[in-house]
Structures are given as structure tokens and as C-alpha cells.
């Protein structure tokens, strides 16, 4: 079962990656200025109280000891507790992670149809009016900063027109769709041009291949050749880029989540960093790293599924 072996091997490879990520974040957090306890207790706390709290959280130990204890707990499934919320980190992640996941999937669903449509139209009329227009719009979409666009959209559609809520996540799946439409749209606006560019280039590349001539010589006609040969072959390079973008979206959810006040991982991360909430930052980073690894694995599996030459 070569497929199973591939998956297993990749997961084993993931272990040192996760270890490295945890070490780096641990050291960076410890080295960054600011003290969580001071932020927690405020200015008026006496040094004695601070010392007591430090001891309670184990913050008075040397950093190496703290890291090893953290690792030991991690192996038992304990990611520590939030200094700020006084709840286990796992609980915080469990409540924030689905929101981000939903947002990312929503962005993908919103992006893919226009990507395919625009790239195909663009490639089939290379140099034509539609192609020029699509490329120009693409540059615009890439050039506009996400946070600014997000602010504009939220002001116009949220505040002025009141079509969409400007914050939160809602309670039912339908409400989720409603609440997250603007955040997903703002993200899609820069994702779409990147993928369109890539897919268009791949389509043009494939349209010049020898097997296209073969298809035409069989009398299949341009449309059928495009559908049967050009398009499937063009997907391969785009799938790889798509995987990278999805991994980036998970980590890059910070901006839209902050602008739209979406209670997702990005927002949790930023707030925890500002509050020096060590264990939450640690836990969130590990979850991001793990997700990235899984997304990359999924991308490779999809590529292997598309291309018989890749032996899984």
C-alpha cells in the first residue's frame, strides 16, 4: 500500500518540524520584552503577589526546564492554560479553529469558480480585449491592500447598505455564511488574481503542446481538445500553488479576522501575543504548523491523483 506508506512517512517527517516550531516560538516568546504577569495583575500589585503568581505558573523556572515541562505536558495532550482566560489552551483552540477553517473553506468556494472561468476566457482569447481586461483587474486586485479593501467593503455593505453584519460569526451555518461573506470576499479578491495568472499561463503552455495537434488531427475540434486535454494538464501546476495559498490563508487570517472582528484563530493569536499569553501563542502556532503540513500532504495526494506519472 504505497499511498498509506507515503502518508505515514510524511507524518513522521512532521514530528521534527513541529518540534522545531515549538522550540522557536518558545524561545522567541521568552525573549520578547513584556511580562504576562504584570499585564495580568496590573500596576498596583506588590512584588510579593507577582512572585506568587510567577511561581504558580512555573514562570520562575529556567527557560530550558520550562520548555521540557511544556513538551512533557504536550505529549500528554495538555497544551497548558491561558494566563488571560484561565481556561485550557485546547479549549480556546477548539472554539476558534472551526471559525478560521470555515472562513478559509468559504474563501476557496468563492474563489474557485471565478478562477476557472476567468483563466479559461483569458487563455482562449489571448491578447484579446477580455484577456487584457482580466489581466488589468487582476493587477488591481493584487495591488489593493486587503485591510483597506476590507474596511471599505465593511463600511459600504455593512454600515451604509446594512446588507451584511460587520462583526461576529453567528450561530447557525446559514448565519455563518452571512457573517463571513465580506471577510471571505476580501480575501478572495487577492487570491483569485494569483491563481488566474498561474492557471492562464499553464493553459497557454498546454495549448501549444504536441498532443493538442494530435487531438486536432483526429477532428475532435478545438473545444473538445481544450476540455479533454488542455484543461486537465493545466491543473497540475495550479494545484501546487493552490496548496501553498490555502496554507497561507490559514496563517494569514489575522488581517481579515481583525478588521471584521471574527472570533477565529488569527484574532486569538494577535490578542494573545499582545497579552503575552505564552501558552496560547505556543498552542496556536503548533496548530497552524500542523495544518500547513496536512494541507501540503493533501496537495501532494491530489497531484498524485491527477498525474499518473507521480507514483504515490
Amino acid at each position: 500500500m504505497p499511498l498509506l506508506r507515503l502518508i505515514l512517512a510524511r507524518l513522521v517527517q512532521a514530528l521534527p518540524v513541529l518540534l522545531g516550531v515549538s522550540l522557536v516560538t518558545f524561545v522567541l516568546m521568552a525573549a520578547s520584552p513584556g511580562d504576562p504577569v504584570r499585564l495580568l495583575v496590573g500596576d498596583r500589585a506588590t512584588p510579593e503577589i507577582i512572585a506568587v503568581i510567577r511561581e504558580r505558573y512555573g514562570l520562575d523556572e529556567p527557560i530550558l526546564t520550562r520548555y521540557l515541562v511544556y513538551l512533557k505536558n504536550l505529549l500528554q495532550g495538555d497544551m497548558g492554560a491561558s494566563l488571560r482566560y484561565r481556561v485550557p489552551v485546547t479549549e480556546l483552540i477548539a472554539s476558534h479553529y472551526p471559525v478560521t477553517l470555515f472562513l478559509v473553506l468559504y474563501t476557496i468556494v468563492l474563489s474557485l469558480p471565478p478562477v476557472v472561468a476567468l483563466a479559461v476566457v483569458s487563455a482562449r482569447n489571448q491578447g484579446g480585449l477580455a484577456d487584457q481586461a482580466i489581466r488589468l483587474l487582476g493587477v488591481l486586485g493584487l495591488a489593493v491592500p486587503v485591510f483597506w479593501l476590507a474596511l471599505l467593503l465593511s463600511r459600504f455593505f455593512g454600515v451604509t447598505l446594512k446588507w451584511f453584519p460587520v462583526s461576529g460569526f453567528g450561530d447557525t451555518p446559514l448565519e455563518h455564511l452571512h457573517h463571513l461573506f465580506l471577510p471571505a470576499l476580501s480575501t478572495a479578491i487577492w487570491v483569485v488574481p494569483i491563481l488566474v495568472r498561474n492557471l492562464r499561463a499553464a493553459l497557454l503552455d498546454e495549448m501549444g503542446r504536441d498532443y493538442v495537434t494530435t487531438g486536432l488531427s483526429k477532428g475532435l475540434g478545438r473545444r473538445a481538445v481544450f476540455r479533454a486535454h488542455v484543461f486537465p494538464n493545466s491543473l497540475l501546476p495550479t494545484v501546487n500553488l493552490f496548496g501553498i495559498i490555502v496554507a497561507y490563508l490559514l496563517g494569514g487570517s489575522v488581517i481579515v479576522e481583525s478588521v471584521y472582528a471574527v472570533p477565529g484563530m488569527g484574532k486569538l493569536m494577535v490578542e494573545s501575543i499582545l497579552a503575552r499569553d505564552y501558552y496560547v501563542v505556543q498552542g496556536a502556532t503548533l496548530v497552524f504548523a500542523l495544518t500547513t503540513i496536512l494541507v501540503m500532504l493533501a496537495t501532494d495526494l491530489i497531484a498524485a491523483r491527477l498525474d499518473p506519472r507521480v507514483s504515490a
Partner: protein, 536 residues
């Protein structure tokens, strides 16, 4: 009855005239050959017949097929013709098949499109077609992906797809150029029998007169976009009229002056010797190690070789036989896992620490002249590089030495400042030869140096190598898949197959009384000119 009638067909790409005023007729069941070298316009002409040229091409003239004017057809009427009445196959089957579609589906495309077959009926017909083009176990290969097939099988599959709807005409554009000689013979035989069974008319394009002669009755010779001569194959081969045709024929390996048999001086020392040379690609996995297997892919398996001073040794074999691997192992480009190499009796390590002294003596020339030269270096810079790097002459003398070397390989001095892309393939190969000669080597290893060249250029380069060898008393290893070429150039020959040397001996002896069945097969597959079996 005339099926296809072409009049004054002219194809231009901007200012470039690719084909000009081409006219010919093709009768039902007739096989017409089009012969010419690269850039002669033969492929462009073929593609113009089915309007397969890119939009940048301007086509004028008339192509009448069975009463219809192809150049004036609407796209849908044209598609009804393509694949149904006129089929086409191409040069490199690997790139002309879609890598992501199963063989059976690609073969069945025309059936689905033109005959509306689907489901079980389609699958059955595909298997029948694959069987007809002699693909063994057709049911299995119908489900295979293109990369799983050998080159010959891919070409057969392509033929099956092109002939699925029983067209009246098959256009074959260099269908065997990318194939080994024995595989080429198989494909040519197949085309012949299909033609006989079905009364198929055929246009067969090739640069190889021998291959064309196996299939065709009538011949067009093209040069620079124009038809220079037309006639029956026999007439053209025996009594060519046009100068260019004569040159083309004279360049065919059959017609090259044979190498006079000669004895090496009795005491000629062994300049190069290898024993038990083995090369393996890929790593040995743990399970290979435990079960005692060699692991990886064994490209060269215990090869022995000796080369004496002044000798020309030919190595012949089909693709994948390990002949290039052997050559590359001799100069350290592939690391040998086992075996020893000796130079003038001394053991050497071509990839080891003291390789420089050895490699100065043993130089290699490669198959693809454009790829073997740096695209950023001018001809002069390329030839001067080894002189500079090894400080062979004082820096003031480099220019003069380069001029000498260029003269020696018949490169005109005004080419010195050109870059590789401004040269022809033959000129590039001369630069590569001059660069190798700059080191004054004792041994020259030529790896398929003429395979990428047109026949007339091939003849010139062979001539040059022969002359240099005689003048300088070089020892030479000449690797080729073309037995005809080996016979003209070499004293001794080694036949390789699947990483092993199967037969070795003096050229005349191996050709006249081959001991191995495989050698006989190779010799039988040489595409000879008709009427003129190679004189010994």
C-alpha cells in the same frame, strides 16, 4: 484515381517562406514519400494539408481532397475530415500523446467522435485496434498510461488511433525518427502491411531515404521549402537528377566510402582498458540489502573494454543498452560501482582526485551540440576555455591557437564571434570537437555525435572525425545506434544490450558473420537504400 491533389501550396510565417509552390498528387492506395532535411518544409507541408498550422502561418494554393477544397472548408466540415478520412501520426509519440489520458481512451477518441461508439462497443473496438497494430496483451495496455509504454508501443498506439476510423489517407510525419532501428523496422513493416490490407494511401515524411524506400513507391525531395525532384523511388535512388538529391544520396551511410580494413601495429599499446565496469542508478534500499539484491537500476553490468593506440572502437546498441553510460563512466560522469579503468596500464579514477591528468588525455563529445555548448560563450570563448583553464598555452598565444583549432575542424574564421544559436547543428558539433581537441587528447569518445544532425551534415562530421583520427593518430570510441555509420568509421565494434556487451569483434567479421541473434536482428534492421546492398 487521384484522391488528394495539391497545387502551388505555399506557407509563410511572416517573412519566412516555409514551403513554396509545392504540388503533387496522391492516388488511392499509393504511398508517397517526402524526403528532406530539417527546415526543408516537409512537416509544414503535411500540416498544411490538414490545416494544423498555427494561426501565424499564411497558406495559399489549393489542397483538393476527394473533390473538396480543404483550404476553403469550414471548421466543422474540416473536423469531419480530420481523423475520419485523413489520419495523421507524428514524430515523437511521447509528446503527441496526452500524459494524463489512458491509451485506450486516446485510441478511442476518433471512434467516439466520428462513429459515435461508446461503452462496451467502444472498448471492444479499441482492443481490436491495438491488437491489429500488434500490441501484445491489448486489454492490459488499453488501461495503461502513456508513460508506461515503450517508444515503439506508443507509436503503434498512435497509429491505432489514427487508423481507427479507417481513413483513406494516412499522413505520417517522421513516424520512426525517434525510434530504435529494430523498433523502426517493426513500425515500417506494420505500415506496409496495413497499406496492403486496406488499400490505404500514405504520405510518409522522413529525413531518412532508407526508411522511405521501405514504404513508398514515389518520392518528393524537398529543400528550402521547394520540391527539387520528384519520381519513383527506384529512379531517384539509381539516377538522381538534381544536385541536392545526389548529395543526399552520397551522404547516406550505404554510400559513404567504407573504411579500409587495416591492421594496427603489433605493439600498439592499450591506451584505455576497463574491466568489470558496472554502473547502477538509484539507491539500494534496506530490503534490497537484506535480500541480497543489487537494487536500483543496473545500467551497465560488468563491461570489459580495451582500446589500443590508433584504434577506432564502435559501440552500438539501442536506447537503454548502456552504451552512453559506459562512455560516461570512462570519463567519470557516471560513477562506477565496480570495476577498474586503466590508462596506459596505470589504474586511474576518472572521478577521483587526480582526474585532471587523465581527463586531458580522454575527451568526450556529446550528442546534442547545442546543449553541449554554453549559450553565453562565443565560439572563440568556448574553444579557448580549456586552453585558459589548463594553462595549455601562454595567454598571448590563445587567440592564435583557437584560430588553428577552428581551421582544423573546418570552421570558417569569421564564425569566431558567433554564439551557439547563430550556428547550425553541424557547426556547433565542430566547435565541440575543436574544444575537445584543444587539450590534445590521446583518446576521443564520441557519444552519438551525429544522431542529431541531418544526413549531409552527418557525412561531413564523420569525414572530419575520420580525417582527424588519421592525422593525429587518435584512439577513438565511437558510440552510435546506427550500424551503417559504425561500419563506415570503425575498426572494431562492440554490440551492447541491456547493460551488457553481447558481441565484440572486427567490424567486417561482426557484420558478415554475426554470432548473436541480437546482432543479426540489428543488422537486418538497417534501412538500406534499395538496389544497393551495402558493399562490404
Amino acid at each position: 484515381m487521384t484522391l488528394l491533389s495539391v497545387r502551388d501550396l505555399t506557407v509563410t510565417f511572416g517573412p519566412v517562406i516555409a514551403a513554396s509552390g509545392v504540388s503533387f498528387d496522391l492516388a488511392q492506395g499509393e504511398a508517397l514519400g517526402i524526403v528532406g532535411e530539417s527546415g526543408s518544409g516537409k512537416s509544414v507541408t503535411c500540416r498544411a494539408l490538414l490545416r494544423l498550422l498555427p494561426a501565424s502561418a499564411r497558406v495559399t494554393g489549393s489542397v483538393a481532397f476527394d473533390g473538396q477544397e480543404v483550404t476553403a472548408l469550414r471548421e466543422d466540415a474540416l473536423d469531419a475530415l480530420r481523423g475520419r478520412r485523413i489520419g495523421m501520426i507524428f514524430q515523437s509519440p511521447a509528446s503527441h500523446l496526452d500524459p494524463l489520458m489512458r491509451i485506450g481512451d486516446q485510441v478511442g477518441q476518433t471512434l467516439r467522435r466520428h462513429r459515435g461508439l461508446s461503452g462496451k462497443a467502444l472498448a471492444e473496438e479499441v482492443v481490436r485496434l491495438l491488437d491489429q497494430v500488434r500490441i501484445p496483451d491489448p486489454r492490459r495496455w488499453a488501461d495503461a498510461w502513456p508513460h508506461e509504454l515503450s517508444g515503439g508501443m506508443k507509436q503503434r498506439a498512435m497509429i491505432a488511433g489514427a487508423l481507427a476510423c479507417e481513413p483513406d489517407v494516412l499522413i505520417a510525419d517522421e513516424p520512426t525518427t525517434a525510434l530504435d532501428a529494430t523498433v523502426q523496422k517493426g513500425v515500417l513493416d506494420l505500415l506496409n502491411s496495413l497499406r496492403a490490407d486496406r488499400g490505404l494511401a500514405m504520405i510518409f515524411v522522413s529525413h531518412d531515404l532508407g526508411a522511405v524506400a521501405r514504404v513508398c513507391d514515389r518520392l518528393l525531395v524537398m529543400r528550402n521549402g521547394e520540391v527539387v525532384e520528384e519520381g519513383t523511388v527506384n529512379r531517384i535512388v539509381t539516377a538522381p537528377v538534381h544536385d541536392y538529391t545526389r548529395r543526399l544520396l552520397a551522404s547516406h551511410p550505404d554510400r559513404l566510402p567504407p573504411r579500409p580494413p587495416r591492421a594496427l601495429p603489433a605493439g600498439a599499446p592499450e591506451v584505455l582498458a576497463a574491466t568489470g565496469l558496472s554502473v547502477r542508478f538509484g539507491r539500494r534500499s534496506l530490503s534490497d540489502w537484506l535480500s541480497g539484491r543489487t537494487g536500483g537500476f543496473v545500467a551497465l553490468d560488468g563491461a570489459d573494454l580495451t582500446l589500443r593506440k590508433g584504434e577506432v572502437l564502435g559501440i552500438v546498441g539501442e536506447s537503454g543498452s548502456g552504451k552512453s553510460t559506459l562512455a560516461r563512466a570512462l570519463v567519470g560522469l557516471n560513477r562506477a560501482q565496480a570495476g577498474t579503468i586503466r590508462h596506459l596500464g596505470q589504474p586511474v579514477q576518472p572521478a577521483g582526485r587526480n582526474r585532471v591528468t587523465y581527463l586531458r588525455q580522454v575527451q568526450m563529445i556529446y550528442q546534442h551540440p547545442y546543449e553541449a555548448l554554453s549559450p553565453r560563450l562565443t565560439v572563440e570563448q568556448s574553444i579557448a576555455e580549456p586552453l585558459r583553464r589548463h594553462r595549455l598555452v601562454s595567454s598571448g598565444r590563445i587567440g592564435a591557437r583557437v584560430t588553428e583549432l577552428m581551421a582544423e575542424v573546418d570552421l570558417s574564421p569569421d564564425l569566431g564571434t558567433r554564439l551557439p544559436w547563430e550556428l547550425s547543428g553541424g557547426q556547433c558539433q565542430r566547435v565541440a570537437i575543436a574544444r575537445a581537441l584543444a587539450l590534445e587528447p590521446a583518446v576521443l569518445i564520441a557519444d552519438e555525435v551525429t544522431s542529431a544532425l541531418d544526413v549531409t551534415l552527418q557525412a561531413q562530421v564523420l569525414d572530419l572525425l575520420s580525417r582527424l583520427q588519421a592525422e593525429r593518430g587518435l584512439s577513438m570510441i565511437f558510440i552510435s545506434h546506427d550500424l551503417g555509420v559504425i561500419r563506415r568509421l570503425c575498426d572494431r565494434v562492440m554490440v551492447m544490450r541491456a547493460g551488457q556487451i553481447v558481441e565484440t569483434g572486427q567490424v567486417a567479421q561482426v557484420f558478415d558473420t554475426p554470432r548473436q541473434g541480437y546482432t543479426r536482428e540489428l543488422i537486418a534492421a538497417i534501412p538500406h537504400l534499395p538496389g544497393a546492398e551495402a558493399p562490404a
